[in-house]
């Protein structure tokens, strides 16, 4: 008898792994929500860390690499959505908001830079770490506020400030890139042209994508289900193009979202919630973020630097908000809560660090130790901080979202 129809053992396919990951994350998210009353995201990150290369090893480097596409898509959707929430008319009507948002990024950058310099890190390292630390995680703030059905001034500003600091973090990084190049004896033309290309190229790609999106949307008409597919398609294409042109993916996507929202003079785009389908992507995003956390970097030596990084980052944000918050119309007590809500550090920091590492490995290792350890801490604490702040501000909906009938 020929038994060739039986599978060759062992046969844990990628699909099985993915399915099991989803189940495990689902359970973890539900468990932390029920028993610890913290955001589901934190559960996803924990399960990712437990099953990742530094834990049980079920998700190894290959798996991480292969699922990269899903992560890119999830982040892409979130960053695009964030850009779309950036309402320029609000900024025009409330100038203090512009001041506040810029100050939030600038103060935060300087606080981290000054603190790390004080503790003896080189100016270049301190400034690159500071640039990365400036950004808040778009995925965390959007998903936590959606889970809480949060509405109000702190929530609105949380989105706005996150969008601004995400863009500024990339801009700061681009501006610092020449110094990194020059330190490694690259000629000045490359040093200047490279960041200009990364940034301007991304903006151009985002702008072109937004035109394509709006044209197509006009032709489709205001049908949410059709436009949902259209938006995903354009986001995916933008990510793909940005990758192959080696330009900044998030800057391209924020630009896409921002222009799609603010140049849509005929209001052709309709709002499309990502719904249940989107949740799957976001769950995978956080599991894989958890899996890529690098706890082994976390030693006694780095612990101090990480603590300095996190505290300085928070103080920088808080100082800016307490200074300019009231003028921009934050309700009483809201400024401090907003600073807390802005704590989550973007998982994108991992990518930023990897990019730097790939350019200059020896420099990158030192940077990685600090930033990636901070990411590890803040991925776990950040969502909890954001949830705390939104609840405390009275903006979380008092009742949980309606269950299906």
């Amino acid at each position: 008898m020929d038994l060739a129809f039986l599978p060759q053992a062992p046969a844990v396919s990628r699909l099985m792994l993915l399915g099991m990951l989803l189940l495990a994350a689902l359970a973890a998210g539900e468990a932390v929500r029920r028993y610890a009353k913290v955001p589901r995201i934190t559960g996803y990150v924990i399960i990712g860390a437990l099953l990742g290369p530094e834990g049980a090893g079920l998700i190894n480097g290959d798996a991480l690499f292969e699922m990269r596409l899903l992560v890119d898509l999830a982040i892409g959707l979130v960053v695009f959505d964030l850009g779309r929430r950036l309402d320029m008319t609000w900024l025009r009507r409330n100038r203090w908001l512009v001041v506040g948002a810029l100050a939030e990024s600038v103060f935060c950058f300087w606080a981290i830079y000054a603190a790390l310099s004080f503790f003896g890190f080189t100016p270049l390292l301190a400034s690159i770490a500071a640039a990365i630390g400036t950004s808040t995680s778009p995925a965390v703030v959007i998903l936590v506020s959606e889970e809480l059905r949060s509405e109000g001034q702190v929530t609105e500003r949380l989105m706005l400030f996150t969008a601004v600091n995400t863009v500024l973090a990339y801009l700061l990084l681009a501006l610092l890139l020449p110094f990194l190049h020059l330190q490694h004896d690259v000629d000045w033309k490359t040093a200047v042209l490279h960041p200009a290309y990364v940034f301007a190229g991304a903006a151009a790609v985002g702008a072109i994508a937004s035109m394509v999106l709006l044209r197509f949307a006009r032709w489709l008409g205001k049908k949410p289900d059709r436009q949902f597919i259209l938006q995903i398609a354009v986001v995916v294409i933008t990510i793909g193009v940005a990758h192959s042109l080696k330009i900044s993916v998030p800057v391209a996507l924020v630009t896409l979202g921002l222009l799609a929202r603010n140049t849509d003079s005929r209001h052709d785009l309709v709002p499309v919630p990502y719904g249940h389908g989107g949740q799957v992507f976001f769950l995978i995003l956080f599991v894989l973020t958890g899996a890529s956390l690098e706890f082994h970097l976390f030693g006694v030596a780095t612990a101090t630097a990480v603590a300095v990084f996190i505290v300085a980052r928070f103080l920088g944000k808080a100082a800016a908000l307490l200074t300019f918050g009231v003028a921009s119309g934050i309700p009483k007590g809201g400024a401090g809560l907003l600073a807390i809500a802005l704590l989550p550090l973007s998982g994108q920091a991992v990518v930023m660090v990897r990019d730097t590492v790939s350019l200059y490995p020896s420099f990158g290792r030192e940077l990685a130790a600090i930033v990636l350890s901070a990411v590890a801490v803040l991925e776990l604490v950040g969502p909890i901080a954001t949830e705390f702040a939104l609840r405390r501000a009275g903006e979380a909906h008092p009742e949980p979202a309606r269950e299906a009938v």
Binding site: H267, G329, P331
Partner: protein, 374 residues
């Protein structure tokens, strides 16, 4: 409260309005939670006349005008209040619009404005409280005595369908086209104390009724009557409460001018007394107006004649014309006439917007916000 049983006289035919307004967010154009923050900012403005108050849910605010002699100065004040409101709302990324109901919000998403009175309403009425996130215009007309107020309340009831058709602006509810011109009234009808005043003929008789209702424990104050028209003894007015909040301040002022001129006409000829038949035809007429707008049928309670609401309004405009002229409301009345001849309610406008927007209700709200701000 003894004060409620005492009717505070006010200048006859003086005028004031309350407008309940929608607070929406530009990201998706759904209703949003913004009343407390907006009111907090408005409190600090020294230039704001009238008053802005919270309403049952956090997506609503109520704008109260001061007392006016005529609709022109009323409109002036409303416009000043609007500029202040838009300025502060702009700081908070909120948008404001008129309209009797939000076209697609989910009532279950609403949050009750945190204060004692509203919490008591939720305690009593359950889901009706959140369902009550609908937006009306109330018109106050000053009366010199309680007896006049009772008289006017009955006499004005015949014209309730006029106010419904002239203000109708809630064609959509919970994401659906209701086929009504005013779907908001259906939300009001659900309350046990909705409807109309009983057939009492003077203030003393009314207070007797009110005291009984209080003794039964059915009402605690006159606020508990959700009638289409009710006397408001503290202000010394009758309050017409059937109107949807129109899409524009201009329309709100036109409605006030109409109510004022109509009251002047009714008070001019006291030989016409209230008849019970008003309340026999009332529900029919009221339904016709909210369902069909100007095209609805109206039965005259005295003659039994049936004609369209548009015809009845046009005839009334002719009848009250001289009184309007005396009150300085000639031009507003002419504008109303043109409007009725055009035959389009605000609900027709909203439906047209939707058709032009390829079916998008979010777009309808956006247009309504623009319309209110212009």
């Amino acid at each position: 409260m003894a004060s409620e049983e005492q009717f505070t006289a006010s200048a006859p035919l003086s005028l004031g309005v309350e407008l309940e307004l929608q607070l929406v967010k530009p990201h998706g154009w759904d209703l949003t939670r913004g009343a407390a923050d907006l009111l907090g900012r408005l409190e600090k403005r020294k230039d704001l006349t009238g008053a802005v108050k919270p309403e049952i849910t956090e997506s609503m605010i109520e704008l109260n005008s001061s007392v006016h002699g005529g609709s022109e100065s009323l409109l002036g004040e409303l416009r000043n209040m609007r500029s202040a409101l838009l300025e502060e709302a702009g700081m908070l990324n909120l948008r404001i619009c008129g309209g009797g109901a939000h076209p697609f919000h989910d009532w279950a998403d609403r949050r009750i404005y945190p204060n004692e009175r509203f919490n008591a309403v939720v305690e009593r009425y359950g889901y009706l409280a959140k369902q009550f996130t609908v937006f009306g215009q109330h018109i106050h007309v000053g009366c010199e005595s309680g007896d006049t107020a009772i008289f006017l309340t009955h006499m004005m009831t015949r014209y309730v369908p006029h106010f419904i058709a002239l203000s109708a602006s809630s064609p959509f509810y919970q994401g659906e086209d209701t086929s009504f011109h005013s779907s908001r009234l259906t939300a009001v009808n659900a309350f046990p104390l909705a409807g109309h005043i009983p057939f009492v003929l003077d203030w003393a008789e009314f207070i007797e009724y009110y005291s009984k209702m209080k003794d039964f424990g059915i009402v605690a104050s006159m606020k508990d009557f959700y009638w289409d028209i009710r006397p408001k003894p503290e202000y010394g007015t009758i309050e017409v409460r059937v109107c949807d909040t129109p899409l524009t301040l201009r329309r709100a002022a036109l409605l006030a001018a109409y109510a004022q001129a109509l009251a002047a006409r009714l008070l001019d000829d006291l030989s016409q007394v209230p008849v019970r038949a008003i309340y026999l035809v009332n529900s029919f007429n009221r339904f016709e107006a909210s369902r069909f707008g100007f095209a609805g049928k109206l039965i005259d309670p005295r003659s039994g004649a049936k004609r369209t609401i548009a015809e009845d309004i046009l005839a009334t405009i002719v009848e009250i014309g001289p009184f309007a002229t005396k009150l300085g409301s000639g031009p507003p009345l002419a504008e109303l006439e043109a409007l009725v001849r055009g035959g389009k309610t605000d609900s027709d406008w909203l439906r047209a917007r939707r058709a032009a927007a390829g079916g998008s209700l979010a777009d309808v709200v956006r247009s309504a916000c623009q319309e209110w701000a212009d």
